[in-house]
């Protein structure tokens, strides 16, 4: 369902739908896709660079290489990145396997220093040409026995079937781990691009029980990365990392547990109780939980008294539960008017139902619908100058410099997510940022890879 939200008589109709009228999980018709200038989310180049000292080699057509080679350049890692261009003659001649093997070999031989690991990214054309990837990797391992190879993929044509490229990439991050003796006290947090915040409930729980915590974002070299394999537990809290966690568990023997990200007090308690049970450690006590809830309630009150009825918009790039955040804020009196979300995450279904029932006029906007090309200019009107956006895409579409500049949950989890988000809202209300400059930077926080 489309709604005319622009006052002008002419011009495109911007897609939008009241939450009460929205379908789950796809509120908008799939069609041509627009790409906004907000680029802070990570891509497969950024994520692959989390493996210290690893070298990435992409084997694709020039058009596909263009985005990834410049991603690497912008993040300052061209020395860890190379390419092999697939051309039309390779498809016609049927020498795709040879091109990968010889191309990757050629690059490795030219590198000034032999990398401990090479991530080879093949693409949609290999998939469609029926390339024998197993043979390719077997050959490469024979030729370079001192290098760990793993198969990575840039095959977006598969994003609507099976594991998504993002899920696949997160699973590949740990495929290079070698089996080693398990340390029952060691825990690895897996699947995040950004480091888990020290203040997060997860870190607090692990640290106070004396667990040794591994996380890829803090590994300074390949040897430290390998130490992750000693973990008795693999904890993920990014839903896209969960399939990789299961694979890791099956391969190395540690136990994988997925903890759901949430802004709902009861859900947080439930998730951490389950986690404590899995880890075999005492969870947060009722007194601690009571204190944490009181802190959150106070932060909500303080924040509301500061921002008042300021219009707030949210987008899905900020965290995995955009509707959960909208629910928390609306149920505490905040004036949330829009959520930018192309599809509703499964975990958000209870929040979606709640919002339909209790805040039916909340508007859902897509981010990729073709009409969104014109949303930012439609919103460039004085009456929307004061909008406070949570997330880069919301900031762009709403043309505001008052925004929370965080992607992918920013390493928050548990009650810390509530407290820190509110802190960021207060900061965004009080201080302006240069939205135009900040949102166009790729891979927010990817300097963690520069080691």
């Amino acid at each position: 369902m489309l709604k005319r939200v622009n006052a002008k008589e002419t011009g495109p109709v911007i897609a939008a739908v009241r939450v009460a009228d929205a379908a789950f999980p796809a509120p908008f018709r799939s069609g041509l896709e627009y790409s906004s200038p907000a680029r802070g989310t990570w891509n497969i180049v950024h994520t692959g660079m989390l493996i210290p000292e690893a070298h990435e080699i992409f084997v694709c057509a020039a058009g596909c290489l263009r985005g990834v080679v410049l991603t690497a350049a912008e993040m300052g890692t061209t020395d860890r990145f190379s390419t092999v261009a697939v051309r039309e003659n390779n498809l016609l001649d049927g020498d795709m396997e040879e091109l990968v093997i010889e191309g990757v070999s050629d690059i490795i031989r030219k590198l000034p220093k032999r990398p401990p690991a090479v991530l080879v990214y093949t693409s949609c054309v290999h998939h469609f040409a029926g390339c024998d990837l197993d043979m390719i990797y077997a050959r490469l391992r024979e030729r370079f026995p001192d290098i760990d190879f793993t198969d990575c993929y840039m095959n977006p044509i598969m994003r609507k079937s099976g594991l998504t490229p993002d899920q696949l990439m997160r699973s590949r991050l740990y495929m290079l781990l070698h089996e080693r003796e398990i340390d029952p006290e060691a825990v690895a947090i897996i699947g995040n691009d950004l480091p888990t915040r020290e203040n997060s409930d997860l870190m607090k729980l692990l640290k106070r029980t004396g667990r040794k915590v591994h996380e890829i974002t803090s590994c300074r070299n390949y040897a430290e990365y390998q130490e992750m394999a000693e973990s008795a537990f693999y904890i993920s809290y990014n839903a896209d990392a969960a399939p990789g966690g299961d694979m890791l568990s099956a391969r190395l023997g540690g136990k994988h547990h997925y903890t759901k990200f949430s802004f709902n007090y009861d859900e947080i308690d439930d998730e951490f109780a389950k986690l404590a049970d899995v880890l075999g450690v005492p969870g947060f006590s009722p007194e601690e939980i009571k204190a944490l809830r009181a802190d959150c309630d106070k932060a909500l009150e303080d924040t509301l008294s500061l921002v008042g009825d300021t219009e707030i918009t949210i987008d899905y790039t900020f965290c995995p539960r955009p509707l959960g955040l909208a629910r928390m804020l609306l149920s505490h009196g905040f004036n949330v008017t829009r959520v930018y979300v192309d599809g509703i995450p499964g975990a958000d279904k209870p929040d979606f139902e709640y919002l339909r029932e209790n805040h039916p006029d909340l508007m859902l906007y897509p981010t990729v619908h073709s009409s969104m090309r014109f949303a930012a200019s439609e919103n460039a009107v004085p009456e929307r100058d004061t909008v406070l956006a949570i997330g880069q895409k919301a900031a762009y579409f709403d043309n505001t410099n008052h925004f929370v500049n965080v992607v992918e949950g920013g390493g928050m989890l548990g009650y810390d997510a509530v407290l820190h988000t509110l802190e960021l809202i207060r900061e965004a209300y009080s201080e302006e940022k240069c939205m135009r400059e900040l949102v166009q930077v790729k891979g927010l926080g990817c300097d963690v890879c520069l080691r």
Binding site: L2, P12, V13, R29, S30, G31, L32, E33, Y34, S35, P37, R39, C60, A61, A62, G63, C64, L65, R66, G67, V69, L70, A73, E74, T78, D79, F81, S82, T83, V84, A85, V86, R87, E88, L91, L99, E102, G103, D106, I107, K110, L111, S123, C124, V125, F128, M154, P156, I157, R159, K160, S161, S370, S371, R373, F374, S377, R436, Q440, K442
Partner: protein
């Protein structure tokens, strides 16, 4: 090994060239792609994305649609979007998967046009060539279909009634030579005012700029391109349109970029010469039949009558005795810079052209070098290398490196350092 790049970048691809060339014309361009092309183009290849509401999209083709040959989904999506967005035209271009599946661009464009009533183009890009190929194809498409036919009286005035621009032995007051500038995209000219510098230079020298393909002109201005006396092709992206406009209207073209005073004068002389010649032919006794037609007779007449190519190598010495200054980049821009260097400093140059470029405009010392391994041996012995900074890691340390960034290679990374060579060639020349 060919096709590998240990460390250098990759040129913007053909599909992005289509998008870039059509960006300002009010159309809707759809890359038939699963995902990734849109964000790549809009992030790295399109500096106008934040400020101009141009309609560039991907189709989001899925595995099952590709396997089943489901073109109907794409057509429906385009028709649906077009009914809301009302573009002036629709262009569909391709990426590797449509190329592999044998997607019929022409047929799909025809169906879209039939259903929407909006002119539609199918540009069979594959994502495997450079932006030059795509941009040239797109501008040629516009020239073929959207440039208006011209009335005879608009182009067939008597010989001698044109003000010969740039000085010379011409009458003091008559009409100006009318010029289209072909091949302008930010991929070669960024958004630093280089495009405006070219048109300003022409206007300051008494030319009338009819249209700029395609920065700074609307589609309505491009529609008038048939009225021009000559075309100035400033990058290889303009060659396709130049050839079409020559075939359709007999407009001759000059290939070159006005870098440096001597070269500017040469280009003006060439424009004047071809403009006079073309007017002469158009005003011949068969003018009524010739203008606006595509007859073979006209083509051969014009080819005989008009020296329609300006040979950049004419004023430049050929380097047979070793490499002094090596320039890496797009063909016409690099050749123009080479000519300026040789005119202004007398130093010998060699151009390594990494994008599509007709070999006939290269000199014997120049090379087409699409791959890193083609380039490296050509740099041996160079005293100076002028190239995008992303080439620097493969350049010998013994050579002086002069940075000349281009959006087509390094995207937005060095945008602020891209010079306007038309206005300030000394930015490069002073470093030699």
């Amino acid at each position: 090994m060919k096709q590998t790049a240990r460390i250098i970048s990759t040129y913007s691809a053909d599909a992005f060239g289509v998008c870039s060339a059509l960006f300002e014309l009010g159309g809707m361009t759809v890359m038939h792609d699963a995902s990734g092309c849109n964000s790549t183009y809009t992030t790295h290849d399109e500096p106008r994305w934040f400020d101009m509401d141009s309609m560039v999209y991907i189709s989001g083709i899925s595995e099952i649609e590709a396997i089943m040959g489901d073109d109907e989904k794409l057509i429906d999506d385009i028709v649906d979007a077009a009914s809301n967005l009302k573009p002036a035209f629709i262009a569909v271009c391709g990426t590797p998967i449509p190329m592999m599946t044998g997607f019929d661009f022409k047929a799909v464009a025809e169906v879209i046009e039939m259903r929407t009533g909006i002119p539609a183009f199918g540009f069979p890009t594959s994502g495997m060539k450079t932006y030059i190929d795509g941009a040239s194809m797109a501008l040629a498409g516009i020239a073929e279909r959207l440039v208006d036919d011209v009335a005879t009286e608009d182009v067939a005035r008597p010989l001698g009634m044109i003000l010969k621009a740039g000085g010379g032995n011409t009458p003091a007051m008559f009409e100006k030579v009318r010029v289209n500038i072909l091949g302008l995209t930010p991929l070669d000219f960024s958004v630093n005012g280089s495009d405006a510098s070219i048109s300003s230079w022409l206007e300051e020298n008494n030319y009338e700029v009819i249209s700029k393909w395609a920065m700074g002109s609307s589609l309505d201005e491009l529609r008038l391109a048939g009225r021009a006396d000559a075309n100035l092709v400033v990058s290889a992206a303009g060659l396709g349109a130049a050839e079409v406009l020559y075939k359709r209207f007999g407009i001759p073209y000059v290939i070159g970029l006005p870098i440096g005073d001597d070269q500017k004068q040469m280009i003006m002389d060439a424009l004047n010469d071809v403009a006079f010649e073309s007017r002469a032919v158009r005003h011949s006794e068969h003018a009524d039949e010739r203008v606006g037609t595509q007859s073979i007779e006209i083509l051969s007449d014009l080819a005989d009558a008009v020296e329609y190519e300006y040979d950049l190598s004419a004023g430049a010495a050929v380097n047979n005795s070793g490499t002094d200054v090596v320039i890496i980049g797009e063909g016409i821009t690099s050749l123009a810079l080479a000519a300026a260097i040789e005119f202004e400093t007398g130093r010998l140059t060699k151009v390594l052209c990494a994008t599509e470029c007709p070999e006939y405009i290269l000199r014997s010392c120049d090379r087409l070098t699409p791959d890193e391994d083609d380039i490296i041996p050509e740099l041996d012995g160079a005293n100076v290398i002028i190239a995008d900074p992303m080439y620097k890691p493969i350049c010998p340390e013994s050579a002086k490196f002069i940075s000349l960034p281009t959006e087509a290679f390094s995207g937005r990374i060095y945008r602020k350092a891209i010079p306007d060579l038309i206005k300030e060639p000394e930015v490069i020349l002073s470093q030699l």
